[in-house]
């Protein structure tokens, strides 16, 4: 050992390396209790089982207490908004459905409503198409909330709940598969209506689901609602009051769990929600427990809405009558999945040159949308899902921006987590129900 106060050094192939030793370093280190006094910075994610996707949290910890929390997003950015500008308006449905992959129907519906508003054809959307949209959205809301309760319960230690939640979600995905041909990425709701009609088997299956689900909800409540660990982990955890929610732009079940009954389906209705009977559940406390109760209650309300929508389903067209806008292809489900209806192909190829030309023009070039801009918002399972769509008069969107509730709500995580325990970061983050595919787009 040299008596020098300078760091020792040695040459390596990478360059000169200094060894930081000597001085009073040992004294300094022995004077610090790293468990109780030191602040350590922990990177949670971007790959972490309890961050709901590739979310990175940088936590500055003092012992187990979170002093500062910062979230880093963008790992799933795929440039969907930019890509939309290079495809025609109908092709947009295929892109936007991939944003928030737990609520694809909402992405599609919001986009379709925006395009329809730009076209000025809201009045021409058929009643059956609108009812099917409501039906699909509410089923999707149930499946999204089921994933929420399943994953959140798993993250807080109730693994069995995860299995049950995904089991019932699977049932809804089967319904979706029956109707749209796909379990996710449906591109089912299109500008002008929906891609094709609901088959009768699906109605039967939805009716079965409506009788099954209330029993299953009871099971979830038996599992979780009275369970002491679940109560410990959720009550008075990650509290955010109405003021905090509004300042940070938080909407959806998190805002309603703080006591404000703000639900766009009631306050700024679209798709005829004002004609349905349902309640907006709220909870006064603004904690994770409240968010759990609100989401379970919302599943019940959605079941009511699905039932009403089924009762209203009268035969009729599911696409606008305007042939300059309506998607010309007829789809049918064959043995290998959904594809073009052979009957329709035979007709346009064999009988009508004009409908072939029309089909070709509409599919390759698309329809023109008058210039202007609109903002349409729907109540997604996570809050206000807004679409700002701008047209310059062409066949492609000039700009489409998604106001994603996952993106906006995640800003509230530091407000929920700072000052609490690190374990409550998981509960708080999960209670926001962020979906990173939607957040990063």
């Amino acid at each position: 050992m040299t008596a020098s106060n300078y760091a020792t050094e040695r040459e390596t192939t990478e360059g000169r390396v200094f060894n930081v030793t000597g001085g009073d370093w040992d004294d300094v280190v022995s004077g610090v209790d790293p468990i109780n006094e030191g602040r350590i910075v922990v990177n949670m994610g971007p790959q972490h089982p309890s961050t709901h996707g590739v979310l990175r949290l940088i936590l500055e910890l003092e012992g187990e207490t979170v002093r500062e929390a910062r979230s880093v997003v963008g790992y799933l950015h795929t440039g969907i908004e930019k890509n939309l500008e290079y495809r025609n308006w109908v092709q947009g449905s295929t892109f936007v459905t991939r944003m928030d992959y737990l609520s694809p129907i909402f992405n599609e519906t919001a986009y379709s409503l925006a395009v329809e508003k730009l076209l000025g054809i809201e009045e021409q959307i058929t009643e059956r198409a609108t009812t099917i949209r409501v039906l699909m959205m509410e089923l999707n809301r149930i499946s999204s909330h089921l994933v929420w309760v399943a994953t959140t319960a798993m993250e807080l230690g109730a693994i069995n709940m995860m299995l049950y939640g995904f089991r019932e979600r699977e049932y809804i995905l089967e319904i979706f598969e029956l109707i749209t041909g796909l379990r996710m990425n449906h591109a089912y709701v299109r500008p002008g209506g929906v891609a094709q009609d609901v088959p009768d088997e699906a109605i039967v299956k939805i009716r079965d689901f409506l009788t099954l689900m209330p029993k299953r909800l009871k099971e979830y409540e038996d599992l979780l609602s009275g369970q002491p660990i679940w109560l410990e982990r959720t009550q008075n955890v990650a509290v955010l009051d109405v003021t905090g929610c509004l300042a940070l732009g938080v909407t959806g079940p998190v805002l309603r769990s703080a006591g404000l009954a703000w639900d766009l389906r009631k306050t700024m209705p679209y798709c005829g929600y004002e004609t349905y009977e349902f309640d907006v559940p709220t909870h006064p406390d603004g904690d994770v427990w409240g968010r759990y109760l609100v989401r379970l209650a919302e599943i019940r309300e959605s079941l009511k809405l699905v039932e009403q929508a089924l009762d209203r389903l009268k035969p009729g067209p599911v696409m606008v009558a305007d042939k300059k806008i309506a998607w010309p292809a007829q789809l049918a489900i064959g043995v290998d999945g959904m594809g073009n209806s052979l009957e329709h192909v035979a007709k346009i190829m064999g009988q009508s040159m004009e409908s072939l030309i029309h089909h070709f023009k509409l599919v390759t070039e698309g329809f023109r949308v008058p210039p202007g801009q609109v903002y349409v918002a729907v109540e997604s399972p996570r809050g206000e899902l807004g679409v700002h769509a701008v047209s310059d008069g062409g066949t492609r969107p000039y700009r489409v921006h998604y106001r994603e509730p996952s993106f906006v709500n995640l800003q509230a995580l530091p407000a929920m987590a700072e000052g609490g325990l690190i374990a409550d970061v998981i509960a708080g983050g999960a209670s926001l129900d962020p979906v990173m595919g939607g957040c990063d787009r």
Partner: protein, 243 residues
Amino acid sequence: MTDDKPSTGGVPVPVTPAGATSGAPAEFPPAAPAGRGMFGNQGSGDVSGFGGLVRPHRTVEDSPRPYGGYFDEVRDALEEAYPAFGEAIEKVVVDRGELTLHIRPERIAEVCQVMRDDPALRFELCSSVSGVDYLGADARRLHVVYQLTSMTYRRQVRLEAAVSAEEPHLPSVTAVYPTADWQERETYDMFGVIFDGHPALTRILMPDDWEGHPQRKDYPLGGVPVEYKGAEIPPPDKRRSYQ
């Protein structure tokens, strides 16, 4: 690819395409000018979707009063509550049942403050902040769009502030609406608009060292070098050719 070119980075030099020996052309024929895009259509048709069709740009006009609905009330309330109204508001546009106030960019934070706090306005929630690039249509091409929601009155209004790409500065509204924090970061990331007074204006969706602002209209889609053995994804208009 020729054989005398040395192999770099372990990338195998491709063998001569099978078609070259059988008399078929080994490469695509050079694109004739008339054959650009899908099916050789040029001039009239935007059939490819990538044609780069130039369209006339319309200018947005002031809407005549009365606007109808609650829009007159909102305008009058703002005029009363905000003394600099005439100077700050460039245009009031009503289109498709939506009200858009075009605001001078340097006034945007003040206007938001009034919009939030005035009892007759009460736009408590800033739903969305984003940008639109009107390249070629407007000298101040970068527009920042704010969607405000009044929960008290159940109203919505859009504020729009336009800045130029050379001087893309406007005040941040984060002091009024903290929710604008990430959304302004996204607008900066995507359009390069600089929000003065933002607490930490950094990129949010793109990597920190990214160059350029992808949502600008002069930023190409694709054509970005990929950090993998010198591979490059061509932009979509050069990606395929239907000859």
